[in-house]
């Protein structure tokens, strides 16, 4: 059992680790992820007791505090009870000794034994890490990077340590070797306490069962690896995941605004956090248990912004929205996908307060909504399908953008106008400001509409088919703009669209809507990789894709009566195996 309590490490003036608490049992493999400068290697080294810097706190292994021990005692433990595989494979191996010699040395230092037993043990270890006897007799410079890494692992495992620490174990390896080494490492960490320090999230996901996110010397989030990766609860974790490309997630990459600054007061992440409060600049949040996950955030992690429960709306006999439940968190994009007539626009309008729901509840940041106040509209805004119609043709650009300020009584501020025009990448010169909406191009008009929506600094933007009336190249730019705004401002976006391919590229989560009901909801990558509903598969099939003949098929809006109650008519799909095969093949290849 390894217990780290309140570990603080400083090098002279600089405090690198600012209070780390970790508790590990046998069989736990914890990965510590973070960016450069977070303090990961410092943490690994301090557990081994290899640091010269000022350490305070306790690191308790089997009841004994490593930091309190004398160096001689620590030397006994190092390599025996706890072992480390270092980052730099080139430097960690002694060039004048063979691999077997170095492994023998690792064993002999702690457990002197006769030559035969030693030989046996070394051979056993070599087999364990997948090296042959000849490789064992070679010198380090004669081996490839992967083989050297294996040698280091053998040395670490030599005395069957209880704690195995890995520092960036696959950083210098190519992709295929990486996969093999990771497999080996996962095997090696069984029945031990494992600590993996890495910046590579996919590697961490493969070998660890628990994950801790380190930022500026503090742990911001800790929990079960799969859960942390599927549902990150801290804004930094989410930002990290969004900026790491992998083969599963479909959303475009987004970064985190700002840069890590070590000397920040209060929460270390707050200058880059899009949901920080005043409190976050003063007080440092402690790592607390929030529903099974450890999070260090004053707001309890990512704030759930919008909760919709059982919303219903009928127009005469037609049930436009029939019991809809939705959740939207701060800074994420939820795509509401469905055909025309599925009720998605009605749902969006009900959330905005333009249409009154028949029943159901809508909560914004936890408070139930009644009649919408002006305060509400400062937090939630909407952009429409037809940008030129959504701007009054009697107002020029400047008046249109400042209209919300007038209505809210916030005063016409020239700086706000220019700032918001700058954000949407439009010019602020008077010639443009005097233009009327019918003189603007589609893309410009939509940017003006977005600027107008942003001027009140909302937290949630509902985008109702914002680009379906625009050309493709303009569409790409507008969506890019929305993603940038999300990255910079932490803007949560509810994107209502019929275009599945588009939604796939810009959404974190997706909800498929049909006939007023939400059929499926979940992470976009999960939903599209394994759709549960027949209707979702139908949608995917008719989405824009390059089919087998290499021809680009543009998304067509399925006509009325085409995909009607397919669940009951599944035999229809079986009749056309060709399409099915093609679709499966397409899913596998993308």
């Amino acid at each position: 059992m390894l217990d780290i309590e309140g570990l603080k490490v400083s090098f002279g003036e600089r405090e690198v680790l600012k209070g780390v608490d970790i508790h590990l049992e046998r069989g736990d493999a914890l990965s510590i992820i973070g960016e450069s400068g977070a303090g990961k290697t410092t943490l690994a080294m301090s557990i081994m007791g290899l640091l010269n810097g000022g350490c305070s706190g306790r690191i308790v292994l089997q009841g004994r505090d490593i930091l309190e021990m004398e160096e001689s005692r620590r030397r006994e433990i190092r390599g025996d009870v706890m072992a480390m595989v270092f980052q730099n494979v080139e430097d960690a191996l002694d060039p004048v000794y063979t691999i077997s010699d170095q492994i023998e040395e690792a064993i002999l230092v702690h457990h002197p034994m006769d030559k035969d037993r030693l030989r046996l043990r070394v051979d056993h270890l070599l087999i364990q890490v997948g090296l042959s006897r000849e490789k064992g007799d070679a010198y380090p410079h004669q081996l490839s990077g992967g083989e050297r890494q294996r040698a280091l692992i053998a040395m670490a495992l030599a005395n069957d340590p209880q704690v195995l620490i890995l520092d960036e174990p696959t950083a210098s390896l190519d992709a295929m070797t990486k996969a093999e080494i990771l497999g080996l490492l996962r095997e090696s960490m069984r029945d031990r306490i494992g600590l993996v320090v890495t910046h590579d999230i996919s590697a961490a996901s493969r070998i660890s069962n628990r994950m801790a996110v380190l930022y500026s010397g503090r742990i911001l989030e800790m929990g079960d690896t799969k859960e942390v990766l599927a549902r990150p609860l801290h804004p930094y974790t989410r930002g990290l995941l969004r900026s790491s490309p992998n083969m599963i997630t479909t959303k475009d990459l987004q970064g985190i605004p700002g840069r890590m600054n070590p000397g920040v007061k209060g929460c270390p992440f707050h200058p880059r956090c899009t949901q920080h409060l005043d409190r976050c600049t003063r007080e440092t949040p402690m790592l607390r248990d929030v529903g099974g996950r450890m999070i260090a955030c004053h707001r309890g992690g990512i704030v759930p912004l919008l909760e919709v429960r059982g919303l219903c709306r009928s127009f005469g006999p037609l049930k436009a929205v029939d019991g809809v439940d939705l959740n939207l968190c701060e800074g994420e994009t939820l795509a509401l996908v469905g055909q025309s007539g599925s009720g998605k626009t009605t749902l969006a309008r009900m959330i905005m307060g333009l249409t009154r729901p028949d029943s159901g509840e809508i909560r914004l940041e936890g408070e139930p909504l009644g009649a919408r106040s002006k305060e509400f509209y400062r937090r939630v805004q909407m952009i429409y399908q037809n940008p030129r119609e959504s701007i009054s043709h009697r107002m020029n650009v400047a008046e249109a953008i400042m209209e919300p300020l007038d209505i809210q009584g916030l005063g016409r501020s020239r700086e706000k106008l220019e700032r918001v025009l700058d954000e949407v990448e439009l010019s602020s010169d008077p010639e443009f400001l005097n233009r009327y909406s019918h003189h603007l191009s589609g893309g410009e008009a939509q940017r003006v509409a977005i600027a107008r929506a942003l001027i009140l600094d909302p937290k949630l933007l509902i985008a109702d088919e914002p680009t379906s009336a625009l050309d493709s190249s303009v569409q790409a730019k507008i969506l890019r703009l929305l993603m940038d705004l999300q990255e910079r401002r932490g803007l949560a976006i509810l994107l209502v669209t019929h275009d599945l391919a588009l939604a796939r590229k810009v959404s974190d989560r997706m909800a498929v809507m049909k006939d007023g009901r939400i059929l499926e909801e979940g992470l976009t990558s999960d939903l599209l990789a394994s759709p549960k509903h027949q209707y979702t598969r139908e949608l995917m099939e008719s989405a824009s894709a390059v089919n087998d003949d290499g021809v680009l098929v543009k998304a067509r809006r399925p006509k009325e009566g085409e995909s009607d109650c397919i669940e009951e008519q599944s035999f229809e799909v079986c009749r056309r195996p060709g399409t099915w095969q093609r679709m499966i093949r397409w899913m596998r290849s993308s």
Binding site: Y377, N386, S390, I391, S392, E403, A449, R452
Partner: protein
């Protein structure tokens, strides 16, 4: 859709002609004192029923008053009524029509039933009956005629507002937290402008006609100088030659005013309703 009313009116020949005729009448009315040395009720030195001469371009009437003077001062009356009714009736129509559309509910239903009732009753008869009792002067006449002509306009404005209310930019304004007052003033009324203008022109035209009619029937204020009254008196003396320069010019003046207003109204309406446009032939 962006409608520019002045551009539409000026751009078409009907509009231009109408505007010209109206401006002619307005000019006569405005510059009346400059165009004649007499005052309208002044008894001149000439004898009654004298034919047109240098001093009296249209001769004199039975009370030895200069007909030309009475004609151009009568223009003032007609045009005042026209403007007054246009403004007052337009104001009432716009207010009631747009607020009914915006508020809906009982308010809307009440006012629309009022409008229905008033439209069912022939306005002319009511006006005549009321006028017979009141003998209205200019102000009262404007009020009376407005009271009967606002319902038609209100209906149209309500319909227009209902359609404007559903426009995207109105929804957008609501999503900024706009109350009905802001929406009415900045989004709906500016777009109602062209329709309102057309309604006002029509009201003005009807008002001129009605005023002339009332005066002709002799139930308006006798001290008002009105074309209708002139025609009423002139009609009595048709057996003399005097009708040529008394009845005819008055009738022509009245017609010019009415035609002018009609043409302007017509050109505005073709602008408002795209189906009436005949693709830029300027008709």
């Amino acid at each position: 859709m962006h409608i520019d009313p002045l551009g539409e009116v000026f751009g078409r020949s009907t509009g231009r002609i109408g505007l010209l005729l109206l401006c002619l009448m307005v000019g006569l009315a405005l510059f009346a004192p400059l165009l004649t040395p007499y005052s309208p009720s002044q008894r001149t030195d000439a004898s009654a029923f004298s034919p047109p001469s240098h001093d009296h371009p249209l001769g004199t009437n039975d009370a030895r008053q200069d007909i030309w003077t009475r004609l151009i001062y009568g223009a003032r009356t007609s045009l005042s009524v026209a403007v007054g009714v246009a403004l007052l009736s337009g104001l009432i129509s716009a207010t009631i029509g747009s607020t009914s559309a915006i508020f809906g509910g009982i308010y809307d239903r009440f006012w629309m039933r009022v409008v229905d009732a008033m439209l069912a009753i022939p306005a002319v008869i009511i006006v005549i009956l009321v006028a017979t009792y009141l003998q209205p002067n200019l102000m009262l006449m404007i009020v009376l005629i407005s009271a009967m002509s606002w319902p038609g306009g209100a209906r149209v404005i309500r319909a227009q507002t209902l359609s404007l209310k559903e426009r995207m930019h109105v929804s957008a304004a609501r999503t900024f937290g706009a109350g009905w007052r802001h929406i009415l003033c900045r989004h709906i009324l500016p777009d109602l402008g062209p329709v309102l203008l057309a309604i006002m022109i029509q009201d003005a035209r009807a008002a001129v006609f009605m005023e002339a009619g009332l005066s002709f029937l002799g139930i308006a204020d006798p001290s008002m100088i009105s074309w209708g009254k002139m025609m009423q008196y002139a009609r009595v003396f048709t057996y003399l030659d005097v009708w040529k320069w008394w009845l005819l010019p008055t009738g022509i003046a009245l017609s010019i005013t009415l035609v002018g207003l009609s043409l302007i109204g017509y050109s505005l309406e073709t602008a408002l309703d795209p189906r009436l446009k005949d693709n830029g032939r300027g008709a």
